[in-house]
């Protein structure tokens, strides 16, 4: 009976509003406030200048075979420590400019370099004074910067933690980690065991800030620069960037989100603009179903009622979001427990998921893949 009631309500709502959308989803339930990716880098960028036809940088090398690249200029020759001439290759790749990386440059595949500070001199044709970048990438170095800013999605006033994990090989005392945030300035990331850092000397450097924005939505960029030494006394540098998204809410939940089994009611406070209300239902970590409604508010508040999709019968939790369609910010994100009407069969769920993701190519595509594709074995069978 309950099932029929839910079906009827879902049907009724689907006829009512064109923007109501419901259906099954697969995969994991979303992480509240977003899951931030971890940026991993084994490179650093030394900013230099062309002066009298030369670019000179003095940088720490922590591995034997670094890839050193001068971006922005073609060098006729490259010397290390004024003595050793390094074999170099020049390139002109306009394709790189599509990603705002200079298309012109000089590449040095260095071999068997002794770790420590070295001076590299690039002799270039250009005589005019201009800023350039020298990138040093050390794929075989044990020092990797793993950088993350959490949470990914915050509201003004929330705390954001920036973590730079350099591993246990680095000296916490002799390593300096700075984070530069637009409109905020610099903060030092510390590995001292004091909040927000968790464990002293574990190689994870942490710092925090309170999110702020004057705009309704503002992606904030963070640049982290590291200079330090390993526990063996080898100097190194690393750099990386990360970001987080700050929303200055334009509406809020006027009261509380209510769930009565068949529907979820979201009382939005008076506001102006276009909003998307979406509910993702799941059982524990498994996402089951999705429902969304887009609404326009013209200064008034509104109680938004979202019906429960049929596919969410076995759900025991839901994530409710109010998204701002004008700014792309996340106004509200809450998790609630919902009544479970059916047993959740994990085996059946995994079977369904497998079926959903089974790659069934049309015959023409299958033949084309055989003829034009390379290494088709990596991702399993081609149908």
């Amino acid at each position: 009976m309950k099932v029929i009631k839910i079906l009827a309500i879902a049907l009724f709502f689907s006829f009512l509003g064109f923007s109501l959308e419901m259906g099954a989803v697969s995969g994991k339930m979303p992480v509240l406030h977003g899951k931030a990716p971890v940026h991993k880098t084994k490179y650093f960028v030394a900013h230099g200048e062309v002066v009298n036809g030369k670019v000179v940088v003095n940088v720490p090398i922590s591995s034997a075979n670094p890839l050193i690249v001068l971006l922005g200029e073609k060098a006729d020759s490259v010397y290390m420590d004024s003595v050793y001439k390094l074999k170099s290759r020049r390139f002109n790749t306009p394709e790189l400019e599509n990603m705002e990386v200079p298309g012109v440059g000089t590449r040095v595949d260095a071999k068997n370099i002794t770790p420590g500070y070295h001076t590299f001199v690039f002799n270039v044709k250009s005589a005019k004074k201009a800023p350039v970048d020298v990138v040093v990438s050390e794929p075989d170095s044990p020092v990797e910067l793993k950088l993350v800013a959490e949470p990914l999605s915050v509201k003004v006033g929330d705390t954001v933690t920036i973590k730079a994990d350099l591993g246990k090989n680095v000296s916490s005392l002799k390593t300096v980690v700075k984070a530069i945030i637009k409109g905020f300035g610099e903060i030092d990331l510390k590995d001292d065991g004091e909040y927000p850092d968790e464990v002293k000397g574990d190689g994870i450097f942490s710092g925090s800030l309170v999110a702020y924005s004057e705009k309704s939505f503002q992606p904030e960029m963070v640049k982290v620069e590291v200079i330090g030494v390993t526990r063996n006394g080898v100097p190194f540098m690393r750099s990386g960037t990360t970001s987080f998204m700050v929303t200055k809410p334009t509406t809020f939940i006027d009261g509380s989100i209510q769930e009565n089994g068949n529907v979820i009611s979201i009382p939005l406070a008076p506001a102006e603009g276009r909003y998307r209300i979406e509910v993702i239902y799941g059982n524990e970590d498994h996402a089951l179903a999705y429902a969304r409604e887009d609404v326009v508010l013209k200064g008034e508040g509104k109680n938004i009622v979202i019906p429960r999709p049929f596919e969410a019968m076995a759900a025991n939790r839901a994530v409710v979001r109010v998204l701002n369609m004008d700014t792309l910010g996340v106004e509200v994100e809450e998790e609630l427990f919902v009544k479970q009407f059916a047993d959740f069969n994990e085996d059946l769920y995994l079977l369904k998921e497998k079926k959903m993701h089974k790659n069934v190519l049309p015959e023409s595509k299958r033949r084309a893949a055989e003829k034009y594709g390379d290494k088709p074995e990596k991702n399993g069978e081609l149908m």
């Binding site: 994991k28 290759r89 394709e95 790189l96 999605s153 595509k365």
Partner: protein, 278 residues
């Protein structure tokens, strides 16, 4: 009774006739780049004549080469692309559209297919589409875009010294953290999100040097260098990692063609592969 049967047969027959008269079209949506990609001829050159001619079977399939400002965010670019696709569909009576995208173009089209109520033209485009072939799309972002934020004259310098050289909107859009945000809140097709309304097939690239050693092709060394410097996870085509290109839709095939070659019909016959859809 006979009349009813006759009418029923007539309706079924007319539906059948209507169906076999489905008009096929092919549309190309380019990736990010300069603002001059808003020009039709620049967008055409992006793909190359050989690619467009081959994929459209010597232009026998009506062809739409979309062109948008390559520096814009996906939703701004999507608006420009939607106008061109909508007019193409309506003016030519297209109801069987195959959309070919390269790089960021695959993200732009995913915006349209993820947000059908955003723009009144989107449903027409979605309904007319048979499927999308996305070549090397940075669906989870690109580590190359993250790297671009480290460079002199980019965003950091721009903010501190108030220069104008900060990264463009589309480069920000291609960052892995920005795409993580959009994938979790605004786009469909990734794990835990609703499915896209039409079939979606990916082609990912994993080659780097390609014909550098045989033809000394100047584009290949730069892409191989960028891949090496950035240290992209897994395999990549010099600009986009395969894990990212493969994050949405079903596998069509993997290609050794790098990011320069996989929108062309030269090093590998990608255009010929696309033409097999018709």
């Amino acid at each position: 009774m006979r009349l009813k049967r006759f009418l029923f047969t007539l309706i079924v027959f007319s539906l059948f006739v209507f169906n076999i008269q489905a008009k096929t079209g092919i549309a190309f949506v380019h990736g990010k780049g300069d603002s001059d990609l808003a020009n039709y001829s620049v967008a055409w050159d992006y793909w190359t004549t050989d690619m467009l001619r081959t994929a459209s079977k010597n232009y026998s399939i009506p062809l739409c080469v979309c062109h948008y400002n390559g520096e814009d965010y996906m939703w701004v670019a999507a608006s420009q692309v939607a106008g061109q696709l909508y007019n193409f569909i309506v003016n030519n009576g297209i109801d069987d559209l195959v959309i070919e995208t390269h790089s960021f173009g695959g993200v732009v089209i995913r915006w349209i297919f993820s947000n059908p109520d955003w723009d009144s033209r989107y449903p027409t485009i979605i309904n007319a589409t048979r499927w999308v072939n996305a070549i090397a799309a940075p669906q989870k972002g690109s580590e190359a875009a993250d790297f671009a934020g480290n460079l002199e004259g980019s965003w950091l310098t721009g903010w501190i010294v108030d220069l104008v050289n900060e990264n463009t909107n589309s480069t920000h859009n291609c960052r892995t953290d920005w795409m993580a945000y959009y994938n979790q809140y605004w786009l469909k097709g990734t794990s835990g999100r609703p499915a896209l309304p039409k079939p979606w097939y990916w082609i990912s690239g994993y080659g780097l040097w390609n014909d550098y050693w045989t033809k000394f092709h100047y584009q290949d060394i730069g892409l191989a260098t960028l891949s090496g410097v950035v240290g992209m996870p897994g395999e990549d085509d010099g600009m986009v990692s395969e894990y990212s290109a493969e994050a949405v839709g079903y596998q069509w095939f993997r290609t050794k063609a790098n990011h320069h070659h996989n929108r062309r019909n030269d090093y590998k016959k990608i255009g010929e592969a696309l033409a097999t859809d018709f």
